[in-house]
Symmetry: C2
Subunit: 305 residues, 2 copies
Amino acid sequence: MITRPEMSISTVERDTGLGKDTLRVWERRYGFPQPARDHNGERVYPAEQVERLRLIKRLIDQGHRPGKLFAASETELAALCSPCVAIKECDPEPEEKLVRQTMRLVKAHDVPALRQALSQAMMRMGLQSFVLDVVVPLNQAVGEAWMNGEFAVFEEHLYTEQMKSLLRQAIGSLPPGGGQPRILLTTVPEEQHVLGLLMAEVLLVLDGATCISLGTQTPLFDIQMAALAHRADIVAVSFSGAFPLRQVLPLLSQLRQLLPAPVELWVGGAGAQRAAAPCGISMLASLQAAVDALAAWRKNRRGCD
Amino acid sequence: MITRPEMSISTVERDTGLGKDTLRVWERRYGFPQPARDHNGERVYPAEQVERLRLIKRLIDQGHRPGKLFAASETELAALCSPCVAIKECDPEPEEKLVRQTMRLVKAHDVPALRQALSQAMMRMGLQSFVLDVVVPLNQAVGEAWMNGEFAVFEEHLYTEQMKSLLRQAIGSLPPGGGQPRILLTTVPEEQHVLGLLMAEVLLVLDGATCISLGTQTPLFDIQMAALAHRADIVAVSFSGAFPLRQVLPLLSQLRQLLPAPVELWVGGAGAQRAAAPCGISMLASLQAAVDALAAWRKNRRGCD
DNA sequence: CGCTATTTCTGTCCAGGACAAATTGGTCTG
DNA sequence: CAGACCAATTTGTCCTGGACAGAAATAGCG
């Protein structure tokens, strides 16, 4: 039997990523959410309101304004489900078939088949093509499916976990490569999505760079120390689409200031595509851009030395 | 040049894991921390106070009372550095040597050598012994080193990342194993440490169980849905030592209530060792206990069927 | 000494006010 | 009409200070 427990304000904060203050001020200003109160006067959020909050959060992270969102009620669904479905229709390539098959397997919870299908495709297509032509659109498709409610959170987790495992294994099987440049990969605190980092690492190692990955959520100060300790030529950080856009630029400026001038700062991920690049920071709009940037670095460096 | 930026209250919250409310109430009650104020009257924490807060948090998570901690000043250091150093002295086993070597390599930031040393040891000792006799004490040693300030955060990240990579690769190279029981592995929201889960997965897969990992931070409700969708016999969650002890039991009770009665709930990790087990929940004090529990499950199940 | 009742400790919640940064919209000028 | 500049609005976060429940510690008693 499935029960939907009611949630306290801190549980909702954890679950939606919206701060307590924000939740309270929305209630005060917009009249939503409107939680019940327990015997002690504390807010108790019904599951359906939390669901809606998650949706709203996602849309806000995409650039919508809260004021507009709280006005509409059914229109939201339209604004939500619509994006770029049309593009897919006219794309019956083999990669597209693989994407759809993968989605089906995730939905069917068939882990062995999922694993095998992805692994096989990777072998067949080669790593670079697999990452660029399959993993990228797949991530996007999974993200959209989650937003539409077609995927539950645990299904997205399942996919992510399998893909992480696969990419890590691929990286491990590559020659360690002690070549130039030395690239430090990580994310800032609060950003826990690592898939983009892994994809980048695959491509960069394939091109002979030395990658040192610190995983996610390294404090800025420690990124600085790590860059020095590992004599990194480049520090690469990634922001997912879910990362609050407002915080991106201040964080990058601070990090840029912390790093020595000769160390380049590369920024990738969906969050990077929506922010303007301050001086001294390379915003990479795609993974291909990262590969290009690597080539450019080498060309430039050869000229300098 | 290394600069130590001053932090806003939300930065400190991110960095220390202490809530804004807690920080403010500590200031009000204990007089620490005592941040400066910016032109707008907002708190600005010096880096040294944040450092101290991190330490205090760690000690509180270990069971110390805040009231005592705020009283002492130099005595803390003693209470901090002391634990179980003595035990190490009388343990010149080969595993112990490997642990120390690994610590040295992390400290030297020598990624290739670190990778090779761990990989070699894994091959030589075999997976099970490697996990039980090397990874477990190594994790503990790294944790302690971090607490003592011997390791920086980024060094701990580096170690964790390498170990995750290694264990994942090991799991990938094992036969996928479609045997009984089917075990769903994950952590609750807020708990982002995955190493314990990976270690458990290695041992359980080695013993022929089918493991489905959802990675970290799955909402309870989704754990429930995943358990049903994957027809799990067992749900295993892990709590690190850094997880607020107070929240463990309520979360477990709620999860236990969500899961069907025949599905067992196993709890591991340092956080599990310090909590009493409610009815219907198995607290596993060690990884060995997990292996034993697996054997017990099989014995019990054979009797039932 | 073991067990219960009371007190202290401690984290989290609440209300409602304030403010700065970002966005929007309007107006004026070239 | 494009673009620059200023005003109004929106919006997230911070603040104070009070309250309270549950855990831990202490006291009291059989």
